[in-house]
Symmetry: C7
Subunit: 240 residues, 7 copies
């Protein structure tokens, strides 16, 4: 056989179930789901000196759609926002789960939930869908940004159900290219305003002529009042 190893494994059927390892020890169904995520809409998140933000490309630019309904960034609780890349319907299941978890936490402890508690539970749920049969993995990467005890944090949970805390990162389309540029430009001392500027510059470089600030959507939390602020389209360029 001189088929490349990938095609051999496809021919052998190692990629037909999330519950099957390939001879190299890979979970191919999970890897395929990751491709969906890589085709998903792009978000950049960043922890700054005076807050945290997520900016997302709405991508959908259909004047028939009510703009707000195509929003990519969702409020999970008064201290917590999330964006996604991948299958939108799957993502909505996870957003709703996150919102319920946050509410339950409030009812139990009478205080806003720690962002890591949310990302941990969502990740655990995602891991189970890669290990148990009878369902497919969630085709979604989830980015969560929030504040707790005056600390700003940013997390990303991948398709396998693993998550890390980030200073800044990107998910969805062109994620690797964006992260390369973020490594170059990011400093902890950046203000939210400066951070947003950098994010927009990165998107401009990537989309070139097709860049249109009108397609973007932003949510930020700043240390002064710790409130979630949402800004869309051209107003993003005018954040102070």
């Amino acid at each position: 056989m001189d088929m490349p190893i990938d095609m051999q494994h496809q021919a052998m059927g190692y990629d037909r179930a999330a519950t099957m390892f390939s001879p190299e020890g890979h979970l191919l169904q999970v890897e395929y789901a990751e491709k969906t995520v890589r085709l998903g809409v792009s978000s950049i998140g960043m922890v700054c000196s005076d807050g945290v933000f997520i900016i997302a490309d709405k991508r959908i630019d259909d004047k028939l759609i009510v703009k707000k309904s195509a929003n990519r960034i969702h409020e999970i609780d008064s201290n917590l926002v999330a964006s996604f890349a991948g299958i939108t319907a799957d993502a909505k299941v996870l957003v709703e789960r996150a919102q319920v978890l946050a509410q339950q936490n409030r009812l139990t402890y009478d205080s806003p939930v720690e962002p890591e508690v949310i990302i941990k539970e969502i990740s655990k749920m995602k891991q189970q869908f890669t290990q148990y049969g009878g369902a497919r993995p969630f085709g979604v990467s989830m980015m969560v940004a929030g504040v707790h005890n005056k600390k700003f944090e940013l997390f990303v949970s991948d398709v396998t159900g693993n998550y890390f805390s980030y200073h800044t990162t990107a998910i969805g389309e062109n994620d690797e290219k964006i992260k390369e540029k973020l490594r170059d430009k990011y400093k902890k001392s950046l203000s939210v305003k400066e951070g947003i500027k950098i994010a927009l510059e990165i998107y401009e470089k990537i989309f070139e002529d097709k860049f249109d600030v009108g397609r973007f959507e932003l949510m930020y939390i700043k240390s002064d009042d710790e409130k979630i602020v949402m800004v869309e389209g051209k107003d993003i360029s005018n954040i102070k």
Copy 2:
């Protein structure tokens, strides 16, 4: 192998279960179900300055069938109507579920349900049938139009269980062609009467000689009394 990639994936069996990703990260069973929807009966929905409406092609023109029983637009609650494209028997399951949800909401809150609550629950149900094994996805796109707190809204939930809010849109047969024309003609300032006229003109262009207003069915809610009004056939042309 020089088969096109589609045929390769069919030959490899990636399209045999809703719970399986193809190597490109697609859910092929879901994509096939979408084809059923694209073959389904056509509806146009529109939010206007003075109300909201759905107009649907009944398509069935069999004099043996009692007209009302072939209706494509269903009353979900006194403030809410829905139409569908796809497998009719599947759609009826979702209509009934929506009606039950609306009733439960009335019993719990003693007020009509928000249209988005309905489309959200229906979409969640549809998402689950694309993720869990042992059943097939619902082969249905659902359009919901309604009023709540004097606000008129229009939603469409697709086969994957994703939904958006629309100013105006179409589902079923020729949906892309119709949406193109809607982008061209739609303005927020349109009255219900003007909107219906535009919808009929679009259908006339699409069906050409085969256009017959007798095959259409309309439900609208206007701001004066917020009541659902149903009109069929030639009477549609005479809406004031």
Copy 3:
């Protein structure tokens, strides 16, 4: 490949489970079950000016069988009869379910059930068997005729679990041919007596030399007393 598309899909296995869509978005197992129905015994139902009736070809003409036991038309409740085309054992399950539903309705509301309530529940049950795995669809089309609040109605539920209300229609063998003739001959003003005559004439044309009124079975309900009347064989010709 130059196999016709049907054979291709069979070769690919899209037709092995009710829960699988073909690349064209078809549910092939459901379509196969419909063939069983098309081979089933023929019934004609008709709503007339003074009542409603179902006439069915018993087809079985074995003198060893007790005639009544091969009856094709079943009493569901005192205001409701049903006939079937397809797998007889499946049909009996649905008849019994319909009878239980009718009884429950009587116990709950102390009045005979609306015909549409019955056809709706039966159709819901059939839809589920086309969506969930682990069982096959019911291979049955069900025709229900009844009276409620002095209104005569006729319904047919197909294999997918969809149903319509009809003025007159046919199921089983030659259904399309019969419906063509019904479209030609049916008028709302027909009396039950005239309707039966038309039905018999249609059967005569279809069966030609093989026509034998002795093989038929009739149930009608008329507006005078709203009682179910059963007539078999030659007596059908003498209805007044």
Copy 4:
């Protein structure tokens, strides 16, 4: 392809599960189970002017076996007997179920059960095994003969779970040949004695030289005392 359609369908695998329709709408696993029944031991049942009887070929003629233990006709209740063709172990499950049903009926209503109640329940059970996955159909045809309110009745339930009431009929080996002869010879006015004589004559014609009355077993109920009487072997010829 020029394989006959049967072999094509086998090659395609339509006959691997009871829950799968073939492209012609057949349930092949059920049809295969029917072949087992057609190879099973033969019984003739008959409703006569003065009673009802079942006569069965024990076929087993092994002097090592205690005769009574190889009996083919079973008492279900004091007014009801049953015989079977097909898989003996399956049949015993159904006989026991029938006996339990009869006992429950006695306990509930303090009277012997109607024969049709039994055959209906057994048939319902059989239908379920042709529709749900995870088990195979019962490979059994069941013949039930009994008396209730002075009426003698005879039923046969086939592999699909369908049943009819018969004046006289046969199951198992050579059933079609036997039924042909029964159609010729049966009259309602026959006495039990005459009926048995006819049955034996039919068996003699079918088995020719191999006919041996010693292999047969008979149970009858007559109108005088409505008691089940069992007769075996040569004594059958001497019934008065």
Copy 5:
């Protein structure tokens, strides 16, 4: 195709599940399990004028094994013994089940259980494993001998879960050959002593030079005291 029918059916996969019929109506998995039984250790059972006995070939002749632990005949209750052919581990499950059933019967009725009650329950359990999926059939034939109300009885339950009562019979290796000889030699008037002699003579003829009475094991119950007596090896030749 000119493969023999057996090989064709194997190639088609009809023999891969206990729940599948072959096109001829056979349950091939059950037939394969029967081959295991035919390779199992041999037992002869016999009802005599003054008692009943089972004699079994222990076959295992390993001096490392404690003889008693390789016994082939098991006491089920004080009036009941059983031997087996097939998979020993499966057989032990059935023996234990039989012992529990006998104990329950004693507790409920305060008397030893009828042998047929035991064989009926064991057979029912075996039938279920041939009809339901998710498990394989028991690869075991069970022979039960016992006394109840002074009547001696012998039963054999086969792999399908069918059973008969026998005057005398054999299971396991060479069963057909042995039964042929038993048909020739058995008379109801034989005493237990004479019966054992005949059984040993049959084994001598079958094993020829390899015959060794030391490998056999015997359990009998005689009418004088109705106690189970066990005899092994050479002592069997000296029964009086």
Copy 6:
């Protein structure tokens, strides 16, 4: 086809599930599991005139591993020890189950458990994993040695869930060779000391140059105090 029968059955897939018989009536998955056992570490057990012992080859000779943690012989209760060949993780499940069973017995009867009760329960558990689907058989042979009522006993339960009582026997690597030598050397009159000497001599012959008493582990129970004594490595040669 001239493939050997083994390869034919592999090609046909009879060896893919523990719940499937091959056409010869074999359970191939069980036979494959037995190969794992045959590759497992070797133990010899022996019942002697003054006690019982198990000696096992630890085989693992990694100075990184804490010796005790690689022990092959486990105390089940104060009167009972066990060793295993096969998959270690599977074996630990069975050891723990045995320990729990022994504790439950003590709690219920306030006395140490009979060794046969333990081996019987473990074997029953193993049999079930060869008959029911959804899991694989335990890849383990278990040897149990113990004392009860001053009687010393030794049992081995194989992969199928069958067990025998032995005077002396071996499991794991080279089991057949060792058993051959045991048949030659074993006498019931051997003392534990003499038995151990014989076991070591057998291992010396089998391992030849590679024999190293340091790799062995021993547990014995002697009649004087009925306590379990454990000895490892060179100390084994000095047992008195």
Copy 7:
């Protein structure tokens, strides 16, 4: 066939389910999962004269990630730490399970848990995922180090669910090479400080030019205060 045996078994499908043995008695899915572990991040654990430690290569060296969130060593309880090689999301499930077990133990016994109790439970859970169908094995090796009753211990549980206690060992990438060097250098008399030095030297030899102490992470417990101490990056070289 002259394919190597590995490829033959792949072609035959023995490696498609954790619940299937190959003809050689291997569990191939488990062996594939082990490959994932062998590609995982490397940890060295060591029991020293004055304590115990685990040192792990964080490998992730992305400045976008918050260092602490990429930690490879986790506190299970105040006396217990754990590291992993393999699928991180799977590992997090096991860490959380271990933490819950430790908490439950504290609540029940009011004392820190024994390290072996934790590794035993985790291993049992892993074994089950190699034996039962419907899920895949955990792709994780877990290393646990802790102190209990002044005794320092180190355990590793592999993919099959087997575990040993070690003086020192390694998991993940290059484990065999590292263990070879550990066998050479380890002595029980090493202090924690000396042990860490040896571990770093081994990593230096393996990574050569790419060695960077900044990528490592260390947790140790020493006998003076039995507290867990965490040290990262360059500080590791300065442990006293």
